[in-house]
């Protein structure tokens, strides 16, 4: 692998869907540039796309699962976070049926993730209470 390379991906900052290259150096995204032949970006990005790398490496990124203990969110393991979540959602589902569970998908996540999430809601949680902020 060269020390620096570019990966073509799709911008997340509006519905236009520009094709942009993320510039990766030493394992970090440190730049972005438009694709010239992409039908939407056509060799330029808006100011948000040109600076998209700045929020990827941001030190405020969450990097560990958090769980509320004694009122405060504290770091925990994936196992505990997943087990606890599954147990809680399962309990509510079994006690009140799936109608008591709401699931919000995301207009910022991928198609595949949204598909999985609504499938998860409709199968594992037995609810059609799944929506996202399409109208906001």
């Amino acid at each position: 692998m060269p020390d620096a390379f570019d990966v073509l991906t799709t911008c997340v900052y509006c519905g236009c869907g520009c094709g942009l290259y993320l510039h990766v150096k030493d394992g970090l995204v440190c730049g972005s540039q438009p694709s010239r032949h992409h039908p939407v970006s056509r060799d330029n990005l808006c100011v948000k796309g040109w600076h998209i790398h700045e929020s990827i490496n941001h030190p405020d990124r969450l990097t560990t699962p958090l769980i509320r203990k004694n009122g405060a969110l504290t770091p925990t393991t994936w196992e505990e976070a997943l087990d606890f979540t599954a147990q809680q959602l399962g309990r509510i589902r079994d006690l009140h049926t799936g109608r008591a569970i709401g699931v919000l998908a995301s207009a910022k996540c991928t198609n595949e993730e949204n598909y999985l999430l609504q499938k998860f809601a409709r199968t594992a949680l037995a609810t059609n209470n799944v929506d996202h902020c399409a109208r906001l």
Partner: protein, 353 residues
Amino acid sequence: MVHAAAATHSHLLKKDHLKGFLRKLAKEYRLVAPVRNRHSDVLFTVIDDLDAAEIELTEPPQNSLKQFFLPQQERLYTYTTTAEGYDFQPVQATIPPTVYFGVHPCDLSAVLYMDVVFSRHQRDPFYLRRRQGSVLIGVNCNSPAPNCFCNATGSGPFLEMGSDLQLTDLGDRFLVEIGRAPGQALIERWQVFFSPSADKDRAAHYQTFLEARGRFSRQVHVEQAIRQLEADTVPEQVWTELSLRCQDCGGCAYLCPTCTCFTISDQQLDDAGGQRLRSWDACTFAGFTAMAGGHNPVQAKTGAIRQRFTHKLRDDVRQNGRPSCVGCGRCVGICFGGTDIVRFVERACQGSL
């Protein structure tokens, strides 16, 4: 600009042997060249696997060498704030010696311009340490792209100086001219790849130049616009129109091979410190000139737009004798509001030609 007689110390490199030559270079240098990737975009790319890379020498690459000498974002220092004090540690970056192959005349001119900017008042260590270990192998443009206008900025389509080696495509072979000592050294080191050029090769070179010069599809009156700016006769309305259309993307400056404005900012990483970053900036952003407390000496958008074109076409001519627009055409057609430098030149010259 190019004369048949000028190319005295020139060599020939058969196209069949180009890859072999590059393979030798790649053993001792990091190799960067314009590569057409699988999405059909052409980018200057660090070449890891020469056999897998499709080197593209005709379509101008969408990025320029600026990205390598002045990266979009680079870490200058890390800093710590402890009880002992507030201390900066330089980032120990190792910069491998790099051959930049297949650099078009516009981009070569741009590097020469950057060399001046980064050493005129003070020598910029971060730029120069990248630049010092670099070898530039240029390739003249036989068929300028539709947006090119380097003929109007004096930076193409052929260039005689600026690179270490300068290649001209003569069909089945390249004519190779030596620009500077590192180029000479390369030729000597791998002389087996090269053969002497004959008069007919140099004649073909000149003929190719003449043909290339006739292949520009745009006529951009850069000189006239420079005169208008110098005489301060660009109608105010032109600035107003352009600034209404500018949508603050910064793309023209970021894609420009000679726009070297940068900013320096700190990013806190934890309680004990952070890093100081240098990143590209653009004079068209309002925040470029805004001072702490909010006052901005460049108040209207027109001021920022005026700065962009005036700097490129007037101030740099005053200072360096030539504009810092190298006519590469990268900013042409990419503006969200249709206000690229070619449109500016057209508008500025309207009624004056």
